[in-house]
Amino acid sequence: MSCAPCWQDILPGTITLGASSRSVETGLWRSVRPILDAGKCVSCLRCWVQCPDSSIQTCDGGTVQGIDMFFCKGCGICAAVCPVGAISIRPESDFLEETGPSGGVNPVKVGELVGQC
């Protein structure tokens, strides 16, 4: 999970430095997420080929290791192309404790950032 910068740490002028997309957690846009059942997976790599966000993690031998949630937007292509039903799609609301109710951007609970000037 990223820890997005406070306003004081923002560079002036809407500036972004090079390769900044690497640090932007587009996974925060997800409303559903893929869950891999490693017992069913046969590492055919169809999901690895089709994933638009390069989120399928593999080891050197070409075996599927898991799914990186940092850039995964929950499009569901991996589950759709899986020939053995090893990937299921579940709503993000099942994982609230993991991401925090504010979507993981703020390091504190919702309501604790009200009223600062």
Partner: protein, 408 residues
Amino acid sequence: MGSAEAVLFEDKRLRREMTSGNMAFAEAMRQINPDVVAAYPITPSTEIPMKFAEFVANGLVDTEYITVESEHSAITACVGASVSGARVMTASSANGVALMHEIFPIAAAFRAPIVFGLVNRSLGAPVNINCDHSDSMPERDSGWIQIYCEDAQEVYDTALLSIRLAEHKDVLTPIFVCQDGFITSHCYEPVEFLSDEAVKEFVGLREAVYPLLDVDNPVSYGSFVTSEYYFEIKRNQIEGMNNAIRVDGEISGDLARLTGREYPPLDCYRTDDADYVAVIMSSATGVVKDVADELRARGIKAGCIRVRMFRPFPSKEISAALSGKKGVAVLDRSASPGGVSPLAAEVKSALYMSCRDGFVPVFEFIYGLGGRDLFPDDVKAVFEKLRAGNCGCGASYIGLRDKMGGGD
């Protein structure tokens, strides 16, 4: 003239000429010698790009002068040049300013320290070329600093100090240097100019923080951001505005050491012991000051506040200056149809938190739309209404032909 001042004239650190607000701004531009000017002429600011084009043609400046096909293109070119690291100036008025509107918040968010000669003129329709503040007021939330000058001397001085204020690392915010169309922009009056060397030394060179043309340290401006980042970026931008009054004080102090002229955010005239105060901006201030003098001679404690800096608005300063007054009249040169006039809204808002210490009645007056003059007798009538407590809760109009009389 004091002896110290005489020495300044003798060794040519100062010269005094008859000139106009437009010509004073153009002369400041010549001395500042900006890297880029992109402009499209419109009355009554036309003389600024016109005179500056002459300086360019005669080789008196090193500026890249970009002629464009519209005001929108002019300000867009200014923004591109400014984020590239250039020192940039331009000018416009009225509907030209309105056409630029889309780009103003972008310039402010890019922290592009453009210094802009805004010569106030009424917004059409109907078409009218004379002064009111209806062109600059719609830009009050665009993120630009707004300074309203009373006369040509102040236009010149403010152009110089605005370069440093806009480019200051704690501010990095573009500035509108506003003057009243025709009244200030075209009338001739004596103005003291610094020497070219003194100006060069005063404004220095721009040190851009993240210039787009620094290919060894590449950056992007204005990329798409989601809701996770936009809020913090805007708050970061607002901090530049929050620092502007402090930094303006420092830079005004530096300029005052060269010129002897000081420019606080509020110009308070005989307000300390005043019972009744009129608040106004720009060129009509002198009328109010004269009337205050006349009323003082008759034993009425009248005062005047000229708001010089409208963005950021000096709320604390005006609240302190007006606390305990028996009545305040705010004279606006623009209207906010369906709302409170811009200057009155700021003054009332500033006084709200201090109302526990005693209520100060504030009344709205709208004057001078489309260049209509404000006369001493108008201002006297305003003070009479204040003394009588005879003001409505909405806006009253000054000098308006009205079957029902003056205002509601």
